[in-house]
Assembly symmetry: C2
Homo-oligomer: 177 residues x 2
């Protein structure tokens, strides 16, 4: 594959979900991409809840609309809730580091893998870092002490165009030695 | 692009770097992939030091060989040191959350983007989560209180074959609702 940069440039936070349902097989492929992601000591400190039931999707959407932001998530076709699990490190490292030392970074890679696989399947995504945790636990039958990482809205975009990406210029973020 | 899963399946932690130098242009493309990565509030809490000087590369390699692990990193052709920077959140969120609340996850996505772009360019990578921080600060002229995320070894692999990936089975990590 030679066009990873193109995929990365094309993927954006969707603001125009169409409300169309997402095919189950595509959601499975998104989880497969996360499953393959690397992790510290190969601990794989993650679990996923894929919400596709048309009766539950709007309920999860309500949980992600916090502080009046993210209102467009109400039209997502599905949600993937990314959960943080205990990371079992190699004994040598477990003696020195907190079990979750690498976990957030690992989860960040897994979550982005979901978004990139979705993009490659013609789906749009938006990562939501704010959500009603207790309500989600109740809705999805999760233990009240469950650790969350984030919630990913998945669906079809009404508008296909890529907005200009606002990023710091290269020379501001890199130095060559 | 339809083969993101293939790219994710092919990328692995390289154990057989050949010692060959890495082209500057390819390293720039790796940073470009990280630059495009998403982040909470688009804060982009990252900086990168690309180490390609053949005199400095072996010194950085020595910093990554900790506890007798990662000895194969001595043959990497270059290193990308991923640094954590202050994340400026939207005022609404900054009032509630620590500035670095999303940073580790964002950095995890940026670091994986580097590895995936490298893979798509025919390069091999290995992420090193343990390193001699003070020594790296000295070598790379970084302030002593610089926050690090991880160090990525980049190079050419002697062996091209993909080892079987050891991962939890899908049904152990996902539930569908």
């Amino acid at each position: 594959m030679s066009d990873f940069l193109e995929l990365a440039a094309h993927r954006q936070s969707c603001r125009t979900f169409s409300g169309k349902q997402v095919e189950h097989d595509k959601l499975v492929k998104c989880i497969e991409a996360a499953r393959l992601a690397p992790s510290g000591c190969n601990a794989q400190p993650w679990k996923f809840v894929v919400v596709e039931d048309p009766l539950v999707v709007p309920e999860v959407a309500k949980c992600t609309v916090q502080l009046g932001v993210n209102e467009y998530l109400a039209q997502a076709g599905a949600f993937i809730v990314v959960l943080e699990e205990h990371a079992k490190l190699m004994p040598k490292l477990a003696a020195m580091l907190d079990s979750q030392y690498f976990a957030k970074g690992d989860l960040g890679g897994a979550a982005l893998s979901i978004c990139l696989e979705a993009e490659s399947l013609g789906l749009a995504t938006c990562m939501a870092g704010l959500y009603d945790r207790p309500k989600l636990c109740q809705l999805l039958d999760l233990p009240p002490d469950q650790r969350f990482f984030l919630v990913i809205a998945v669906g079809y975009a009404v508008k296909d165009e890529v907005r200009p990406k606002i990023r710091k210029p290269l020379d501001e973020i890199v130095k060559f030695v």
